[in-house]
């Protein structure tokens, strides 16, 4: 899939235009524009502190931007808090996972969206049953349904966070370093999951440190440095070294890779 093909496909699923946010004088995100089409995986690359997490937290409603505009399906979207983002079917796997350690897997999976009985009480058994179903697909080895997630391994915790993002029919999925805590086998499972979700027409922002992952899984890559966008490229038109150059030197590769 190439950039020119992308632009022929009409309205992007997400457009973030000219986004700015600063924290006490630090321009964490400085006039950044990125977009995402249905069925596309866009990688976000950059050093630690480049502003990747901050940018996607604006999309997920965790932060409010100082200026800029977000469009979903071509229409201006008002995202002021995580609930707003969820209403636009934006689901996020945070870098920190954002799990309540004292609660079990199903309570975390349904946090904020609990299944309730006809009397309005939380239906733990129904939620556990649903959790068992989705974990059966995502991570069949997962067995600790009745323990707080603090008792889980890093990989198991990550799979709970992934399950939460996938369960609720996301149309826009944000994955902030989803494989950071995973071994090679689990990383492979996540890669397969991304392929699967992409085939369903979901748009995915994938933040990763690993250029290799990005080259393999992404259609396009946007590179950030010091809060600014270095550029966006079609992954199959650039080499690893081009991407490295963008990340380290903030240098846009030759015109042949221009998106």
């Amino acid at each position: 899939m190439t950039g020119t093909e992308q632009s022929k496909r009409g309205t992007p699923l997400v457009e973030m235009r000219d986004i700015c946010i600063s924290f006490g004088g630090v321009h964490a995100v400085d006039h950044v524009s990125v977009d995402l089409y249905p069925g596309e995986v866009v990688g976000l690359l950059g050093h630690n502190g480049a502003g990747k997490s901050t940018l996607i937290k604006i999309l997920s409603g965790a932060y409010r931007m100082d200026s800029g505009e977000i469009r979903i399906n071509g229409e201006k979207a008002e995202i002021h808090n995580p609930r707003d983002a969820r209403r636009y079917n934006i689901e996020t796997i945070y870098q920190t996972l954002a799990l309540a350690d004292n609660l079990d897997a199903s309570s975390n999976l349904f946090l904020g969206r609990e299944l309730v009985t006809p009397f309005g009480l939380v239906d733990d058994d129904a939620m556990e049953a649903e959790t068992r179903k989705i974990m059966g697909r995502l991570n069949p080895n997962f067995k600790k349904f009745n323990e707080p997630v603090s008792a889980l391994s890093g990989g198991q915790r990550q799979s709970v966070a992934i399950a939460r993002a996938v369960y609720f029919d996301a149309r826009i999925l944000i994955m902030d370093e989803p494989t950071a805590a995973l071994g090679p086998h689990e990383t492979q499972m996540v890669a397969e999951l991304i392929e699967q979700l992409k085939a369903q027409g979901i748009g995915i922002f994938l933040i990763s440190h690993d250029i290799h992952d990005v080259m393999k899984l992404c259609d396009r890559a946007s590179v950030m440095k010091n809060g600014q966008l270095v550029g966006t490229v079609d992954v199959d038109k650039v080499t690893d070294d081009d991407l490295l150059g963008m990340i380290i030197l903030g240098k846009h590769p030759g015109a042949q890779a221009e998106a």
Binding site: A98, D101, N102, L111, V122
Partner: protein, 432 residues
């Protein structure tokens, strides 16, 4: 939990007795400590501690602190603290005392003894407590002033608002119906106590049964049937035993005689009457059940624990943690008002120093009951048991004749020790 443990545990075919019953180890530990305490005092006092009379008194002395402790669990679970509960109790008590002795009968002209007075008073008191609590919650949640500071200020403010409102006077006697919430002046008697006990028993067994049925319906593993049987038997024995003990405490003959004479009757020969369950204890049981339900089966409860475990995660899940803080403190305020009803009714009047130091007893009860100050963990029954342990310790020492300063020294030391044991327990088990 270490990796090796985590991988080993599913392979263990035989579970211990306690694990099969799925009992809470911490609860067992507390019940064990409580039992040792009671038996110890009973031995030292030559059998005076575990009498129906003393157990009755212990329960009614515990109610006021225990009611507030259930609310303190939520406050501490969300990593806050409320130092103002004793002072808030005093203000609510003052407001209610004035409402029932002055405002309603005289200013609004209902006249003393009007049947509406106690209920309007209680409703108004709860409203005042809720509003003050909500105000604390707003200062903490929206203006982000630390709860420690807000409620430390509140401690000074509300203790003295109560004083100011009443000009420091003791107000009493209170409305007779109102005073029934105090303990000895309002009990169910033997018959009703059994009815309530049996209803509670039926509810508990029904709860066990439906929970098992639901688990089976979803295809989850359940305890073996014998384990459910043992659990049901334990619960039944506890409920029946509790009612039997309270029913064994008989109204003294002199008081019966007085009551009969007051109605123009004479006391029949050989007539006896049991106190049974005090209304205040029944109130505590209802509140405990409601708060447990709130904690475990409602969204609000789920959000309270999630926020305590990881405030950022709660926020990112779309939970409005500021509003949640307001709700938690408002609930705490409402419970302070209910405790004020019980406490002033027990004393039969409102006095200036009512509820003094209760904040410390309430926090201690919650903490001894296993509520973690680091947030995220705590149970309602634990806090009530904590309140009961504190009260038993205090009453037991008084009965043994321990000097007052020494009593407080012991209670303080026990609080610190309980938290130490809790920390060690948490480290050992890794979770919870």
């Amino acid at each position: 939990m270490t990796h090796s443990e985590a991988e080993l545990s599913p392979a263990q075919p035989r579970k211990s007795f306690v694990r099969t019953l799925e009992l809470d180890l911490r609860l067992l530990g507390m019940i064990g400590a409580f039992a040792i305490l009671c038996i110890g005092f009973d031995l030292v006092t030559g059998g005076r501690f575990l009498t129906p009379r003393n157990i009755f008194n212990l329960t009614i002395q515990t109610v006021s602190v225990a009611i507030m402790a259930t609310g303190m669990v939520f406050v501490i679970v969300t990593r806050h603290i409320d130092l103002s509960v004793g002072a808030l109790l005093a203000t609510c008590s003052a407001v209610m005392a004035m409402t029932q002795t002055e405002i309603l009968p005289n200013m609004l002209g209902l006249g003393l003894g009007h049947p509406l007075i106690p209920w309007v008073t209680i409703a108004f008191g709860i409203l005042v407590g809720t509003l003050i609590g909500a105000f604390h919650g707003w200062l903490v949640g929206y203006l982000t002033i630390p709860a420690f500071i807000v409620t430390l200020g509140g401690l000074l403010v509300w203790r003295n608002v109560g004083w100011y409102l009443t000009s420091g006077k003791t107000i009493g006697p209170l409305d007779p119906t109102f005073m029934q919430f105090g303990g000895i002046n309002g009990t169910l008697g033997a018959g009703w106590s059994w009815i309530v006990g049996l209803l509670a028993l039926a509810a508990a067994l029904y709860g066990l049964w439906t929970s098992r049925k639901n688990k089976i319906r979803h295809g989850f593993s359940v305890k073996p049937l014998w384990a459910e049987g043992v659990l049901a038997a334990l619960i039944s024995a506890a409920i029946i035993g509790f009612v039997a003990i309270l029913n064994a405490y008989e109204v003294p003959a002199a008081r019966l005689k007085r009551d009969f004479e007051a109605q123009g009757l004479t006391l029949p020969e050989g007539y006896t009457e049991a106190y049974g369950i005090p209304i205040s204890v029944l109130l505590l049981i209802f509140i405990a059940a409601a708060m447990t339900m709130l904690a475990r089966r409602t969204r609000l409860g789920r959000y309270i624990f999630a926020t305590g475990g990881n405030p950022d995660a709660a926020e990112l899940s779309g939970i409005n943690t500021r509003l949640l803080t307001v709700k938690i403190f408002a609930l705490m305020g409402a419970l302070c008002a209910i405790s004020a009803v019980v406490a002033s009714a027990r004393l039969t009047n409102h006095s200036n120093d009512i509820g003094t130091l209760d904040e410390l007893r309430v926090i201690a009860a919650a903490v001894i009951g296993g509520t973690a100050l680091s947030g995220g963990f705590g149970t309602i029954y634990g806090a009530i048991l904590g309140a009961l342990i504190m009260q038993s310790l205090q009453s037991g020492m008084a009965m043994v004749g321990v000097d007052a300063p020494l009593q407080n020294i012991v209670v303080g030391a026990v609080l610190v020790l309980a938290v130490l044991i809790d920390i060690v327990y948490r480290k050992r088990t890794g979770v919870a």
